[in-house]
C-alpha cells in the first residue's frame, strides 16, 4: 500500500513517517471542523500529488506541519560550487532538515520537496556508490539479479564513459580528439542500440535501467584502460584487457539474460559481448 511497506527505510525516517501518519489519522478522526488553519508562516506543506500515503484530499494536517522542521529554503541554496568528482555540487551542510529518504527509484520519499540540498547530494552520491557495488562487484547476497539497479541513475555511466574516453584519448599519440569522440559516441550509441535490441527481441527491460547497467558495467574496462595506459607491454595489455572484458561481461550477463526469453538469451547477450570486445580492441590498439 504505502511506500514504507515495501521499501526498507532508514530507521529514523520510518519513525518520522509513522509519526506523521499517526498525526494525520488523529486529525482526520477529529473531523474537518476542528482543524485550525494555524500554520507556521514559512514552510510549505508536504503532501504530495502522487503519494500513496498522504492523500491529497485530506484536510490540512496542521499539527503535522507544525512538527516538521522549518523549510530550509530561506537559508538553503547552495553557496559553494561544484567541481570535484562525482558531479553534484556539495553545498554547505544544512542542519535543519528531515532526513527522510526511501531507498527506491530516483525515489525520494514524499517530503523531499523541502529537504536541504545537502541531503539530495548525499542521497545521489550514495546511490551511485551502491549501484556500482551492486552491479559490478561479486555479491553473494544478490537476490534477484534482474532487479539490480532498481534505482537507476545515469551519473555513474556518464562518468565512466567520459573517463574511458579521456583515458583512450590520453593514450593516443595522434588524433586525440577523434579518439575521444569516437569512444564516447560508440559507447553511448552502443548502449542505446543494445537496449533497443533487447526490447525488439521481446524482452522486458526498462530503457533507462538498461542504459544505466551497461554504463556501470564499463567500470572494469575503465580500470583496464587505465592500467594499459600506464604500461606499454603488449602481452600485459592483452591479459589485462581479457580479464576486465570477462569481468564486464560477467557483470552484465545476469541482468540481460533475465530480461529475455531463455531461447533468445544468446541473441541478447552476443551484441553486449561484441561491444565490450570492440572497446577492448580499442584499448589494446591505441598507442
Amino acid at each position: 500500500m504505502s511506500h514504507s511497506d515495501t521499501i526498507p527505510l532508514h530507521s529514523s525516517s520510518q519513525s518520522d513517517i509513522d509519526e506523521i501518519e499517526n498525526l494525520i489519522n488523529a486529525s482526520v478522526q477529529s473531523g474537518p471542523a476542528t482543524v485550525q488553519p494555524a500554520r507556521p508562516p514559512s514552510p510549505p506543506r508536504i503532501p504530495v500529488s502522487s503519494s500513496p500515503f498522504l492523500q491529497s484530499n485530506l484536510p490540512p494536517p496542521t499539527t503535522a506541519a507544525a512538527k516538521l522542521p522549518p523549510l530550509p529554503s530561506s537559508s538553503a541554496p547552495p553557496s559553494v560550487l561544484p567541481a570535484t568528482v562525482p558531479g553534484p555540487a556539495p553545498p554547505p551542510a544544512n542542519s535543519a532538515g528531515s532526513n527522510n529518504f526511501a531507498a527506491s527509484g530516483f525515489g525520494p520519499a514524499p517530503n523531499t520537496l523541502t529537504e536541504p540540498v545537502w541531503d539530495t547530494v548525499k542521497r545521489d552520491l550514495s546511490r551511485i556508490v551502491s549501484n556500482l557495488k551492486l552491479v559490478v562487484f561479486p555479491n553473494p547476497f544478490r537476490e534477484d539479479p534482474g532487479k539490480a539497479l532498481r534505482d537507476w541513475d545515469l551519473w555513474g555511466p556518464f562518468f565512466f564513459i567520459v573517463f574511458l574516453g579521456l583515458v583512450l584519448s590520453w593514450s593516443a599519440s595522434v588524433k586525440k580528439s577523434e579518439v575521444f569522440a569516437v569512444a564516447f559516441a560508440l559507447l553511448a550509441a552502443g548502449a542505446v542500440i543494445l537496449t533497443l535490441n533487447v526490447l525488439l527481441l521481446g524482452g522486458h527491460i526498462i530503457f533507462f535501467q538498461s542504459l544505466s547497467l551497461l554504463g556501470y558495467c564499463l567500470f572494469p574496462l575503465d580500470v583496464g584502460a587505465l592500467i594499459c595506459m600506464l604500461q606499454d607491454n603488449v602481452i600485459l595489455k592483452i591479459v589485462v584487457v581479457c580479464v576486465t572484458l570477462a569481468w564486464s561481461s560477467w557483470a552484465a550477463y545476469p541482468f540481460m539474460s533475465s530480461a529475455v526469453n531463455p531461447r533468445r538469451k544468446a541473441l541478447a547477450l552476443y551484441p553486449v559481448f561484441l561491444m565490450y570486445v570492440s572497446v577492448g580492441f580499442l584499448i589494446i590498439a591505441i598507442d
Binding site: 529554503s73 555540487a89 530516483f106 525520494p108 523531499t112 580528439s177 575521444f180 526498462i206 530503457f207
Partner: protein, 183 residues
Amino acid sequence: MDLNPPPEENYANPRTCLFHVLFKAASLAFYILSALFINNFVIIFVVTVLLAALDFWVVKNVSGRILVGLRWWNEINDLGESVWRYESLDQESLARMNKKDAWLFWWTLYLTAVLWVFLGIFSLIRFQADYCLIVGVCLTLSVANIIGFTKCRKDAKKQLQQFASQAIASRVSSTLQSAFTVV
C-alpha cells in the same frame, strides 16, 4: 506567460536563481568562447557536457523545488514497470511562490534550449560532427528538464482541480448532513 517580469516584488531566492542561471550560462559561454581560444576538442567536450550535466542536476533537484515547487522523477515499482512520479507543493504554498522566481525559471529553461538549437544549426552548417555531438548531449539534457517540469506542472494543476472539486463536494455533503440533523 507574459513577456515582462512582474515588477513589484524582488527575487525571493536570489542565490538559487543565480545558480539556476549560472551553469546554463557557463556551459553556453564556454562552448561559444572556447572555439576561439582552445584548440582541444576533448577539453571543450568534457567541460561543456559536465557543466550541462551539473545544470541538469541543479535545475531538477534544487531550483525546481525551490523556485517553482515542482519535482519529477522516475521509479521502477515492484512489478518492474517504470513509473514517472510528479510531486508538487500544495496550492497555498504554490500561490505564495515568488512570481519573479517562477518567471526566471521557465524563461531561462526555454531560452537555453533554443540557444542550443541555434548552436546546433551552426555546427551542422559547418559539417562539424563532433561539435554536433556536444550540442546533441546538451540539448537532450535541456529538453528532458523542460518536458519533466511541464508535465509536472500539468499534473499539479490536475491534482488541484480534483482536490478543489472534492473539497467542494465534501463541504456540500457535510452541510447537507448537518442540515438534516438539525431538522
